[in-house]
């Protein structure tokens, strides 16, 4: 991207290049999610259906954890809602950057909104206008990757083994660190990160998942609001 591009990189190719690390990191998790679901008594068809319509790693892992028969529908739906409520903040933050998309493109495209492709879209929007092709290709590729690999995990089951062995579980954390560093907005970001990190760790320890996500996020947001504004003229 640093080369003096005479012919700019096509949007779809930039989207695939940017989302590839997240897709590779997602493979072992999707497979693990599928394998765990089978162990809990779901069928491969049900695993496939869940990944297809829910497409939310954290929520699916939590759901499989509490899955039993008879199916605790209410608990599953509440847990899913709590873990995914952060999407509301993400969508609100992204909305002003989606002006190149039509209303149907936004509504369909946001079906694939997830932490990784959202953060990449934010990063892209910070340097150039977000195109429909970039946003939709990235989202669909990430979604299809999750669906396919969770089905692979469901079919191969315990043959795949523990992703911790190869450090694959840390790839998720490393991606998030890189995204946070690239999204930082100056000196105030350090305080925002500290407030969010400490609150999340504390709440995770004292109350438990998934409350740490919402409380940590709120702490960071409040910290940003309370801090003195850097440049009085800038908005």
């Amino acid at each position: 991207m640093t080369s003096p591009a005479r012919r700019p990189e096509p949007e779809w190719r930039a989207a695939l290049a940017d989302i590839t690390p997240a897709m590779v990191a997602g493979m072992p998790f999707a497979a693990l999610c599928g394998a765990l679901a089978i162990a809990k008594g779901l069928s491969p068809a049900e695993v496939f259906a869940m990944s297809l319509v829910v497409f939310a790693g954290g929520a699916q892992f939590a759901a499989i954890e509490i899955w039993s028969f008879p199916v605790p529908v209410f608990a599953l739906v509440v847990s899913t809602l709590l873990i995914n409520v952060r999407h509301v903040l993400m969508g609100a933050s992204l909305r002003p950057k989606l002006h190149a998309l039509s209303a149907p493109q936004r509504l369909l495209g946001c079906f694939t909104l997830a932490d990784e492709n959202w953060a990449l879209a934010e990063r892209r929007a910070a340097v150039r206008a977000l195109s429909p092709t970039y946003f939709l290709v990235m989202g669909v590729a990430f979604w299809a990757n999750w669906v396919v690999w969770s089905l692979v995990g469901a079919l191969l089951g315990p043959v795949l083994g523990d992703p911790k062995r190869l450090g694959a579980d840390f790839a998720f954390t490393a991606i998030f660190i890189a995204l946070i560093v690239s999204l930082r907005t100056g000196s105030r970001s350090g305080v925002v990160v500290a407030a969010s990190a400490l609150t999340a760790a504390l709440v995770r320890g004292l109350i438990g998942s998934p409350w740490h996500v919402l409380s940590g996020a709120m702490a960071g947001i409040v910290a940003a609001a309370v801090l003195p504004v850097d440049k009085p003229g800038a908005r």
Partner: protein
């Protein structure tokens, strides 16, 4: 190919509430004109959410995770996304060997 009725209901409702969280933000945004502190708070959303998701793992799970986190943060200031992930994963594998 087996699909249980209650399971399908649960999956459908899980998908529905998740989709609602994904599009709700689209309708909230744009109703306000953000300035000053409100804008600062709004701009902090991405970093705040991402930090909250990973912080417990980095701060409280193990020495290997915490140290690998520091190495990864340093790498993130110098390397591409893929390079950062490679350094982070290699470091955590090594440190888990060291610290058991």
């Amino acid at each position: 190919m087996r699909l249980d009725g209650t399971t399908v209901l649960a999956i459908t409702l899980m998908g529905l509430v998740t989709y609602l969280t994904r599009i709700a933000g689209l309708f909230i945004a744009g109703r306000f004109r953000l300035e000053g502190r409100a804008k600062a708070a709004f701009d902090a959303i991405p970093v705040s959410v991402l930090t909250a998701v990973i912080a417990p793992t980095l701060l409280t799970s193990s020495v290997a995770e915490s140290l690998a986190g520091i190495v990864t943060i340093v790498a993130a200031f110098r390397l591409s996304l893929l390079g950062t992930v490679a350094v982070g994963v290699a470091t955590v594998v090594l440190l888990r060997l060291v610290f058991g």
